[in-house]
């Protein structure tokens, strides 16, 4: 036993030495290469002017502002698409999940076709299609489609009634397109629609599996108590299914956050695409990628904490 323990200790020391050695070797090689290419290292570039602008941003950022502000604006853009996206995906996913369990064959067929199609086509390909539809197939801004009073859609995006400089504004066709209200760009809309429909299909499937995995006795017992099928679903099956589905659904929502990084492919300036631009401008690949990785790890931690809190709250609550 004694020998075994000291052998273990030696082995662990060996592992530590090997790993530290490997990292030291990588660091030395990397430092050499950076020097050869004349790239300085360090995070000081964050305080220097970014030198590029973002296509759109909640924060007003221009090329003269410091780089960290551009990164922050990129993170805000990620959240701006991922947070509403998560809420919409939960809603649509729940509806589609119910639809797949419906008695009505038409509803079941439609929900099944939706889930099947959207889960089995790569998200990137879906985003490219939405972007093409929004920028190529829609009419130009001066011939915008009117979806509802004050809501217009065209190649330059979606115009909505919103608070502007002069109070609440309702968009109206003007000389060169639509005036007033708020505007959502085609890049943002393509990201939002693509992310929501892709994630919702996964959430629907998760919910359906959770309901089907419940012991059949639950449904039969509730029916025997005289509940209507809808009551059985709402009061007996759904609460239990939600509890089982919570961890996988949380991980679907976390995937939605990670998938928001595909924005780089259609030119929506999220965190990853800002990091990519900055990387190309400054050559500081390590620093830019470290920022991206750290932010995503922090987001994962936050998501894990939130889901933990929800799970605790939704534990069995026994009536007293």
């Amino acid at each position: 036993m004694q020998i075994r323990q000291s052998a273990n200790r030696a082995l662990q020391a060996l592992i530590v030495v090997a790993v530290v050695g490997l990292f030291a070797l990588l660091a030395v090689t990397t430092a050499e290469h950076l020097q050869q290419r004349g790239i300085r290292s360090g995070f000081d570039f964050l305080l220097e002017p970014a030198g590029f602008t973002l296509g759109e941003s909640l924060l007003p950022v221009d090329a003269g502002d410091s780089t960290w502000l551009a990164f922050t604006a990129g993170l805000f853009n990620t959240l701006r698409v991922a947070l509403p996206g998560a809420a919409l995906a939960l809603g649509i996913g729940t509806l589609a999940g119910f639809g797949r369990l419906a008695d009505n064959p038409l509803v079941r067929g439609l929900a099944g076709a939706y889930v099947n199609a959207f889960r089995n086509i790569p998200l990137l390909l879906q985003l490219l299609a939405w972007y093409f539809i929004l920028t190529d197939l829609l009419p130009a801004a001066d011939a915008a489609l009117r979806l509802a009073p004050g809501v217009f859609v065209s190649k330059s995006g979606l115009a909505l009634p919103w608070w502007g400089d002069g109070g609440f504004e309702i968009p109206e066709p003007g000389g060169f397109g639509i005036d007033g209200g708020a505007r959502l760009t085609p890049e943002y809309l393509a990201m939002l629609i693509g992310l929501v429909l892709y994630s919702a299909a996964y959430i629907a499937e998760t919910l359906r599996a959770a309901v089907l995995a419940l012991p059949p006795g639950q449904r039969l017992a509730a029916l025997a108590l005289g509940m209507t099928p809808r009551q059985v679903f709402r009061l007996v099956l759904l609460p239990q299914a939600w509890r089982a589905a919570l961890p996988p659904v949380t991980s679907q929502l976390l995937n939605l956050f990670k998938n928001a990084s595909l924005a780089v492919a259609i030119g929506y300036p999220d965190l990853v695409s800002v990091a990519g631009t900055s990387l190309n401008q400054t050559g500081r690949a390590i620093e830019c990628l470290v920022i991206v990785i750290v932010v995503y790890l922090l987001l994962s931690l936050v998501a894990a904490a939130v889901s933990h809190a929800f799970e605790r709250r939704s534990q069995w609550e026994r009536p007293t």
């Binding site: 008695d103 086509i121 390909l125």
Partner: protein
């Protein structure tokens, strides 16, 4: 089914009836125009003038015929087209063999791992009289299939090793591997691909230049292995202790028991999850287009974005590609439900 049962299904209550009517109305409103666009008014010949004359009233399926070679094989030299076609057929054939053919049991994993190994020299050439084709020119369907098959073939052994490492009695090893798994699972694949594209060249010593394709494959293997290790670890945890006791009673050593008792049962139990990971990887290979490798998704962009004449018919070419991905996913899903590892 009786009329009453049908009525209950479609018009059971107010909500149900309203949904039925709504869906029937939508079908009457939208299906005929869709059919007119896709079939009646469509042009099937690769004739730009005829397609433009449609003015979007019908689909231009001719774009698929016109661009098929480029979308399916990318920039691979046209004179050598048989090589990528054969490479894709080898890999797709192994999937078909497991999904529909008689491939079962011990032969499944070698049958899935061998084709990507054969595909690499076939695509690369430089031996046996085949002209060398640099990896930058590989593309389209063979590249998508190669990244998926080679990615899984590399990630599964690594994932199994990591899963065992996380159960070892060495705390340092456990901590290191846990850190790796959580890191890989916490970041988006794009971040890993950027690391492969921008950082890996800095790490290698001078004179060692590795093609983007192999760097990306390294990133994919490391990324997927983290997910696979979690699946295998779950399978190891679910295995009943009695199995090991019985093996010990029969005189099996630790590694013998793992090889003959534990791993076969664990891999069989987690085969559906492994196949789901393969589906996820198959779809995720589309991301390598962001670091300039032109697999299916990338070659669609290459084929159309520079061609002003054909670009308006992007949607038709897109649907062709979506159908290929859909079929690939369906094939892998069938592998998952066929539980092929059963003897």
């Amino acid at each position: 089914m009786s009329l009453a049962a049908l009525r209950r299904r479609f018009f059971g209550d107010a909500l149900n009836g309203a949904l039925t009517l709504l869906l029937i109305a939508a079908a009457i409103l939208w299906l005929p125009p869709l059919f007119r666009w896709a079939v009646l008014n469509a042009r099937f010949a690769p004739d730009v003038a005829a397609c433009e004359a449609l003015n979007r009233s019908g689909a231009c399926w001719g774009v698929v015929a016109e661009k098929a070679r480029f979308i399916l094989l990318g920039r691979y030299p046209a004179a050598e087209s048989w090589r990528p076609a054969l490479a894709a057929a080898l890999i797709a054939g192994s999937w078909l063999g497991v999904a529909f053919g008689g491939l079962r049991g011990n032969r499944v994993l070698p049958a899935l791992a061998l084709p990507p190994l054969l595909a690499v020299p076939l695509l690369g050439g430089g031996m046996g009289g085949l002209p060398t084709v640099p990896t930058e020119l590989w593309g389209g369907l063979p590249l998508t299939l190669l990244l998926t098959a080679a990615g899984m073939a590399g990630a599964l052994p690594l994932g199994i090793a990591v899963a065992y490492g996380r159960r070892s009695s060495l705390p340092v090893l456990r901590a290191l591997l846990t850190g790796y798994v959580e890191l890989a699972r916490g970041i988006p694949l794009i971040a890993a691909l950027f690391v492969a594209s921008f950082l890996l060249p800095l790490f290698f010593p001078d004179g060692v230049a590795i093609d983007m394709l192999w760097r990306v494959l390294i990133a994919i293997v490391l990324f997927a292995a983290a997910y696979l290790s979690e699946i295998v670890r779950g399978g190891l945890q679910a295995l009943r202790q009695e199995q090991l006791d019985a093996a010990a009673a029969l005189g099996f050593g630790y590694w013998q028991a793992q090889r003959w008792i534990v791993l076969p049962q664990v891999l069989r139990a987690v085969a559906p999850s492994l196949a789901n990971s393969a589906i996820a990887l198959f779809k995720d290979t589309s991301l390598v287009t962001i670091v300039s490798l032109y697999e299916l998704t990338g070659s669609l962009g290459l084929a159309l974005s520079g061609d002003a004449q054909w670009r308006p018919f992007y949607l038709e070419a897109w649907l062709f590609l979506a159908a290929i991905y859909w079929l690939g996913c369906a094939l892998l899903a069938r592998i998952s439900s066929a539980t092929p590892l059963r003897p």
